[in-house]
């Protein structure tokens, strides 16, 4: 503890000494800042390549295509932060959408459909949470199993059929705009949810507990954190947010088929990892994920505008991911080396 304090003191003095240059280096080696710079670069690039990119309506409207995944990324930060993973989320969407379609086919109104969708998500999340915490099974094994089960239910009942009748009012959630503006309802909802989740993660005791759990479950447990309760809450939240996403997606495409949202689990995890949340837990923040969401969303949109093939998109995402995983470690070594050199220099000066 005492050592850490000394390090901090010497660190701040060094920043003072090297002032602006040092401070810029610190800022621009932060992953979320690198992402922000990439977004700026992306905007400059695409607005030069296509006259349709920097258009208020288009920039707003294109968020429709990635807001549902963005909403799912929020609780996924909590899960990955505490060292878990959930790969059943796309199947939870299928289960929720199926429940809503079933409700709708039984003449239940828009409000009822939404409630049923949210409840389906909540319960699926609780099942995941229960299995993970009660049977001490790794989250990846549990959610791999529930991935098949949740989607399997809708596949077994729907087969190659689809629910296509939804009430007209229901279309608002995924297709509507805020009042008379051109701002999609989905975008507003996401920003509100992001603010709430950001507050919980960074300003509450619960958030701090998640970081502790991610760094070491054992250590957290010994220092009195109710680890399993927090993990259960995480998975339940994940389910609920999948429910919200399912409402938006089902409303946007106006139909339910068993293969709905197929492959979204990996896309959502991609957003979180690209956002700088360590896949082993304990590191990262919501701001970085926010940046990753808009970076990837607009990257896809921009590439679509200049009619680049989807293959290029996949490769680009893959490269970014590799950088996202490798760079923090690389930067840490660089920083550590700089510090070491500086300390050597300093101590050398003291000796002289």
């Amino acid at each position: 503890m005492a050592e850490k304090k000394r390090e901090l003191v010497s660190g701040s003095r060094l920043v003072d000494e090297n002032s602006l240059k040092e401070r810029l280096i610190v800022i621009f080696t932060k992953w979320e800042v690198i992402l922000a710079v990439l977004i700026v670069f992306e905007f400059i690039l695409f607005s030069n390549l296509s006259p349709y990119f920097l258009d208020y309506f288009n920039l707003m409207n294109s968020t429709f295509t990635f807001m549902e995944k963005a909403i799912m990324a929020l609780p996924m930060i909590f899960i990955i932060m505490s060292g878990d993973i959930d790969i059943s989320i796309a199947s939870i969407i299928a289960l929720c959408s199926f429940s809503m379609g079933f409700a709708s086919s039984h003449e239940i109104g828009a409000a009822g459909i939404v409630i049923i969708g949210l409840l389906a998500g909540l319960s699926a999340g609780m099942v995941n949470g229960f299995l993970v915490t009660s049977f001490k099974m790794p989250a990846i094994a549990v959610t791999l199993a529930t991935q098949s089960i949740f989607r399997g239910i809708s596949q077994a009942i729907l087969e190659d059929q689809a629910y296509t009748k939804y009430p007209e009012k229901f279309a608002y959630f995924g297709q509507g705009y805020l009042g008379e503006t051109l701002i999609p309802f989905e975008l507003v909802l996401f920003l509100v949810l992001a603010a709430i989740m950001g507050f919980v993660l960074h300003k509450t005791q619960y958030g701090r507990k998640l970081y502790a759990i991610g760094n070491s479950k054992e250590a957290a447990r010994f220092s009195g954190v109710k680890v399993d309760r927090a993990r259960f809450i995480n998975f339940t939240l994940m389910g609920l947010f999948c429910g919200i996403s399912a409402v938006l997606l089902t409303s946007r495409i106006g139909s339910t088929r068993p293969n709905i949202a197929l492959g979204w689990d990996m896309e959502v995890i991609t957003l979180v990892v690209l956002g700088g949340v360590s896949i082993t837990g304990g590191k990262g923040n919501l701001f970085g994920v926010l940046m990753a969401i808009f970076l990837l969303g607009y990257l896809k949109f921009g590439m679509g505008l200049i009619n680049l093939s989807a293959k290029v998109m996949i490769i680009t995402t893959g490269l970014l991911l590799i950088i996202a995983v490798l760079l923090p470690g690389f930067l840490d070594t660089v920083k550590a080396r700089r510090k070491l050199r500086r300390q050597q220099k300093e101590s050398g000066m003291v000796e002289v």
Binding site: F43, I44, L54, D55, A162, T164, R257, S309, A310
Partner: protein, 338 residues
Amino acid sequence: MKKLLSIIMVMAIAASFIYAGGAQEVAPADEDMKLVLLVKSLGNGFFEAVADGGQEAAGELGNVESIYQGPSSSTAEGQIEIIETLIAQKVDGIAISANDRDALIPVAKKAMKAGIKVISFDSGIASGGRIVDLAPSDEELIGRQQIELIAELCDYKGQVAVVSATSQATNQNAWIEWMKEEIKEPAYKDMELVEVVYGDDASDKSYREAVGLMEKYPELAGIISPTTIGILASAKAIEDEGKKGQVQLTGLGLPSEMKQYIENGTCQQMALWNPVDLGYTSTYILYALATGAVEGNPGDVIDCGRMGDVVIGEDGISIMGTPFVFTAENIAKYAEIF
């Protein structure tokens, strides 16, 4: 530090807006008409051939840019994302082979509201989500053509039989009904359709049924198998029974699977819709709609270049024509495609 960070960001974003704002004004107006072929997924030979057809049509029409697009995996969500970007770049027309006939309706409606002409081909969008749905062929054309093909192979005489899919298969049953109609024509007075057997679209059962036919009718002159699995199994059965040259074979088959049998003469000709023609015809239809030459109402006639006229039918459903015939001359080229 956070303050500094946010200031830099805001400045950078503002700069990019100003920079881009200037760029936008000098962007040249695109004169070419942009017609898009949006397929189920990329990396599929069938759809690459559709794209070739689009290019061919664009070349003939002149002021058309044919754009080929598709998601990396066959999902409706992926197609919707692409349609959103197509709306944003204000293309003139989109022809879609849909991954989901219902899920694409809302976004397709949005595109049509933005003035973009939307049609579907190969795999249709439900009514309300497109102006025209281009079907590769129809029951009557397919059924009648099958009889013509087998008649040419066995000189308009002898017994023929059918190896179908399942006995409940809607498509095959409808085609077989038209085969029975066609064979009543005077040209086929020396021919007889003796039996329809069902291989259930399983290789082994189709094979056994074909062998059974040859044993039951020693004078059998030809087999028609209007299903890709059945025709492949029948070809093998004919060779194994040593009836090559004696029992002729035709049907609907995949060029890649049937290449060896077409080249060695077991099955001298067969039919199937051709993806190149689908892309070609779709592009012609989009062009006619986007130029305002036709509204897309039932009864409208569209000139589709080498494919002839296509008539828009009830509910926008249009028929491209009789299936394409594959022979030893052209099979190698198409076998590489699908």
